[in-house]
Amino acid sequence: MEVWISILISVCAAATPLLIAATGELVVERSGVLNLGVEGMMIIGAVTAFSTAQVTGNPYLGALVAIIVASAFSLIFAFMTLTLVTNQVATGLALTILGLGLSGMIGQGFVGAPGIKMEALSIPLLSDLPVIGTLLFGQDLIFYASWALVFGVWWFLFKSKTGLKLRSVGDNHASAHALGLNVIGIRYCAVLFGGACAGLAGAHLSLVYVPQWVEGMTAGRGWIALALVVFASWRPGRLLIGAYLFGAVTIGQFHVQAQGLQIPAQFLASLPYLATIIVLVLIARNRRLTMINTPASLGKSFVPDR
């Protein structure tokens, strides 16, 4: 029993950064913008969170700085694609390349430094419940935040007027503009929110999941988060399923290795990536589902008449 709970807790830890980054990107894509720079923003978040926590000794301050810096970083993308209408795919890649380079430079002095872990924040009474107590109520703050974020985003998108405006911009930016909505302004906000989420996801990696700074430590998680958004067909609820599924694959892989099975470690390490491809194929095969749910303006530039 104990073993299973600890496995489930590690599944949560593996799923949380994916969930947070994907939720941010979901909002971005719902507004019609495709930001492929998640990996870059995430690693900027990871390195700034770690270094801030190292210097100040406060992991919460680290997470806060990660959120601020990563959303400032995403502002570059927003300015390029929204104001200068550059190609969103290429600009997102540039953001990832720059993020990986910058994080390497910032983090150079912190390689091998002891990490500062964000401790679990047990909720009194509830965390004493048998079995689910530690699992649901004995986790770190970012874990709680991730669930709040998913439900908050769901509420925002589907229950609030502002969320409706954001979805309308992603569906048809020309109509939205004609009705007087500020297409570019809404998209700027969405991109900044996506950056903040990616920053928090990165902070979770370097403050909770690994608590260390390792160069390139995101290891494709930003890209998997992008795939999760497609998997979830742009619905926040389905992100939960996707993120925890991937968390389980990642953790399962470690446990199979620990069991000493005769499968090379590298093959097991490939599993999350192969699983991503398989999931993408399965989702794309259902053309109707993807076509109906994909924001119709996704990836298209908008230049209003003036």
Partner: protein, 529 residues
Amino acid sequence: MPGEPSSPQAPLVEAIGITKLFGDLRANDSVDLTVQQGEIHALLGENGAGKSTLVKILFGSLQPTSGSLRWLGKSLHVASPSEARETGIGMVFQHFSLFDALTVADNIALGFDSDVSLSEVAQTARQVSLDYGLPLDPSAVVGDLSVGERQRIEIVRCLMQNPQLVILDEPTSVLTPQEADRLFEVLFRLRDEGRSVLYISHRLEEVRRLCTAATIMRHGKVVDVCDPRDSSPAELAARMVGGDIADVTRAEREQNGPVILEARNLFAEAATPFSVRLSNINLQVQAGEVVAIAGISGNGQGELFAALSGEAGVTGAITCDTLRIADQNVASLDISNRRKLGAAFVPEERLGHATVPQMELSENVLLSRHASDQDTLTSAAPIRRKFTSELSLIAKRVCDAMDVRKGTADPVAASLSGGNLQKYVVGRELDRAPKLLVVNQPTWGVDAGAAAQIRQDLINLAEAGAAVLVISQDLDEIFQIATKIAVMSDGKLSEAVPAKLMTRERIGLLMSGSDGADGGDAVTGTRAA
């Protein structure tokens, strides 16, 4: 309902000396417009005359470079559409400002600036739609609705704001004649309630029926202000165009050339959730004929074009008993091989379908002719640059023959105006002297001069012995050029009938899916709805 006007004599809205520049282009040049209270006022002009620009300025989507607006005699500044709505200006857009993925209620709510709850919006929407006889289902997803239903959403959304001025941009171009009649009833009622309507159209008969005043624009300037009932449609047209338009003429004779295009029992599965399934299409076009397919767009015209041209591919999605072009079975041939049999195709979208926007006109020649004109353009070796001079030659020939106006010798397609690009696209195919021409919406959004020229060219092509199939939603055009008329509705095609035996009313009934030939029940059924 509408608030009491502050001073009954003052015009509702005045635009004074409005000028709007886009780069070097003067879209509006010192335009004056006055709309009185309780008046249906027409804004007439060709495509590109500056009507849409003026209207966008009234609605706050655009800011004028200079000039001013007055509302009930007081100075007015409209910084945004939401300010326009607050003032009492409502707008029904030509290309609809709707969101396919959202519900009717969501779409309506997006037109409100205040934070009204969704349920309240739905409630008011139901009220207004009942009140004006514009039935709507608030929970329906807009993507699933017909064009007529979409327009109803736009109108209801506009009326819910309780506007004093309702602007409608080309509202009847997407309606059947019967739907248009119902729209006119709504407009008359609005007038009787003391509201004003600014009605943009190029359909002059309609304008004479509805409007008591008209402002006519040409090349960004106002050329006349008049009462349209005092002039004949021809006189109005001449003022719009700035001269007479050549009449389209057709020799009266019975043609009985061989069958060039024949489709029997053609079915095509919908390729995407947003496309229409074609069912049991039967069609024959003989040499010398212009067969026209009427219908509101979005009823399978694009899909039919793709199936006939071979663009849809030769996958299992399309099945038929017969599909022949010039005595050849073409069911398994792609578009290039159908062209080699003498067929030519002109799709609806000029930019991004018939041409690559950022390629030059000469390069765009290659787009539709690399296979059919292999001998002159690519020869056996698929190397093309050596034939660049040949491409420029063809492009020049086409532009000369069609009188295509352009800024430089070989501009990119996107830099041409709609009418000139359409002339180029049609001319590129005519230049091949095809045996069969299939053309979708040949003059959509094209100025009257270019439209008349293109229509005459299509007639001439048929009279020279080719078979011509025209898919169009413009009934005036169809009656001008067609020898036979069929009607498309919801992926089905009615039997082609000689044009002389067709009436607008019957086409209208066929468009809305009822069988015009049966008359009787179907007719009363539609009227009752």
